[in-house]
Amino acid sequence: MRRQLLLVAVTLLWPILTFAQASGQDLRAYMLASSCAACHGPDGDSPGAIPPLRGKSPKFIALALQEFRSGASDSTVMGRMAKGYSDEEIALIAEWYGKNNDGTE
């Protein structure tokens, strides 16, 4: 009986918990990724000379950031910026901008 009650409670709470978590995680990604927009444009849609993030896949963005960070890819400022982010943070940023990926990379 107690076990059943617990199950009911878990079932009822499940959507609420996942929403709260997803929302918190989204905000965490927002917090990291929104900085990029100052140079790469709102939603990564760069209107000028800086390469856009919009349309790139999460995989492409994550790899680019990792290679800038390690120095494997040459850059002007991105090497300096990417060193400020962990692997996990890079993944969150990549996912944030990559969600608008149109599949072309």
């Binding site: 709260a20 917090m31 927009a37 000028g48 002007t76 400022v77 910026m81 060193k83 400020g84």
Partner: protein
């Protein structure tokens, strides 16, 4: 007579009713956030508040219908950009982002009741207020440099008519003349700005009036990107720019606007300029002082994770006016702080936790049209203070190729285009 306050009240009530039956949204429906100031900080915050929660009522109060950006205003002095190029308006915020843009001047902010009184006497009530007023000049700091002195010795540290005045004075000066730039002690708006300005004025002079000189009288012993700037001066404008540090006699003791004379070394030395670009010490804009948001430093102390005032609950201060740890007073910093602040307000209204804040800044400076240099940093909260992440950031390499400098110049332009779109839509 329906006052603006009553009118707003009706709007809030109507929105509240509309939100009934949508419980996920009801936590913030009817809540009004008023943003004071439509620069890089205020406009970004208004926009991102609406993007994070479209049920929020966001009012942006800004007295000017056109905002001239300080970034790239030095290029106007060089003749590389027009005033139109650096003009921004609020149409995008109003039409695309649903921000209620109110063209008015804020006279007073009551930080306890969170009530704003406009210059025309109207009153607005807010649940939260974001104060992003920028800086004002300290007219009492240097004897001789009162507000009226800026008509003769422009500071041009707020873009607009001051930029045009300085440009006109440069146009009118003789070849072989002297331009004096005075640079204040820290902190002040745009730390690398005076040195980029020297470059852009030198660019103009080297083409139009090549026998002229630029003298920078500095209150400081060093300045940002110093090695890069001095190398660029030698390379692009050899012999034209002289920098005098505070210890070497650069500290200004007084000024005589009538004769365009700047006195240093306790008035024992004097320098006469054909043009004097006098950049005085600054503090948080006056409206923040009147709202009791300023401490004895002249700036606004805040909780550096939420930008909520350390002095008054429910009032946030962002941009140049606030004390933001290691972050410089730049348009990029203001834009970055605005996004953190928007998240802090939305999570506070929802009773959620704010994720660990993350901030960034990149300051590009143009030494010439094809010669860009930058300083960058990523910031996190450490022990309640905003601190730069160790091992990240830093300045452009000193041994970079001409191609690298040229790329950074293009990226400076790209940054300007992007942050403009990110801030004003």
């Amino acid at each position: 007579m329906v006052t603006r306050r009553e009118f707003l009240g009706v709007g809030v009530a109507a929105l509240g009713a509309a939100a009934v039956g949508v419980p996920r949204r009801s936590w913030s429906a009817g809540v009004r956030v008023v943003v004071v100031g439509g620069g890089f900080g205020g406009a970004t915050c208004a926009r991102y508040l609406r993007r994070l929660d479209s049920s929020l009522n966001v009012t942006l109060v800004e007295r000017e219908s056109t905002f001239y950006t300080c970034p790239f205003s030095n290029l106007v002095l060089a003749g590389l950009r027009s005033m139109e190029d650096i003009a921004r308006d609020y149409q995008g915020l109003a039409e695309k982002d649903g921000v209620d843009v109110l063209p008015a001047e804020v006279a007073e902010i009551d930080p306890v009741s969170r009530r704003l009184t406009l210059a025309d006497g109207d009153v607005i009530e807010a649940d939260r207020i974001v104060v992003a007023p920028g800086v004002d000049m300290r007219w009492d700091a240097i004897p001789g440099y009162a507000a009226s002195a800026a008509d003769t010795l422009p500071h041009a540290w707020k873009a607009g008519s001051q930029t045009e005045l300085l440009r006109a004075q440069l146009g009118g000066m003789p070849d072989g003349g002297v331009v004096i730039i005075t640079a204040p002690g820290n902190p002040y708006r745009c730390p690398p700005g005076p040195y980029e300005r020297a470059c852009m004025i030198a660019y103009y002079l080297s083409r139009e009036k090549p026998r002229s000189k630029i003298l920078i009288l500095d209150a400081k012993e060093s300045f940002p990107k110093q090695g890069l700037f001095t190398a660029a001066w030698d390379e692009l404008y050899p012999g034209m720019i002289e920098w005098v540090s505070g210890g070497a006699g650069g500290i200004v003791s007084s000024v005589d606007p009538a004769t365009r004379t700047v006195f240093t070394s306790e008035d024992f030395e004097q320098h006469k300029g054909d043009v004097v670009n006098f950049i005085p010490p600054q503090f948080a804009a006056q409206v923040a002082h009147r709202a009791d948001l300023v401490d004895d430093t002249g700036w606004c102390p805040v909780d550096q994770s939420t930008f909520e005032s350390a002095r008054h609950e429910g009032i946030h201060v962002i941009g140049d006016a606030c004390l933001a740890g290691a972050m410089p007073k730049s348009g990029f910093s203001a834009n970055s702080q605005a996004k953190v602040c928007a998240a802090a307000i939305v999570t506070a209204l929802r009773g959620q936790d704010l994720p660990p804040p993350s901030y960034a800044n990149t300051c590009y400076s143009l030494a010439g049209p094809d010669y860009g240099i930058s300083v960058a940093a990523v910031y996190r909260l450490q022990g309640g203070k905003i601190a730069a992440v160790e091992g990240a950031g830093g300045v452009s390499p000193s041994d970079a190729s001409a191609e690298f400098r040229s790329r950074e110049a293009r990226y400076a332009e790209g940054w300007y285009d992007s942050i403009s779109a990110d801030t004003w839509g």
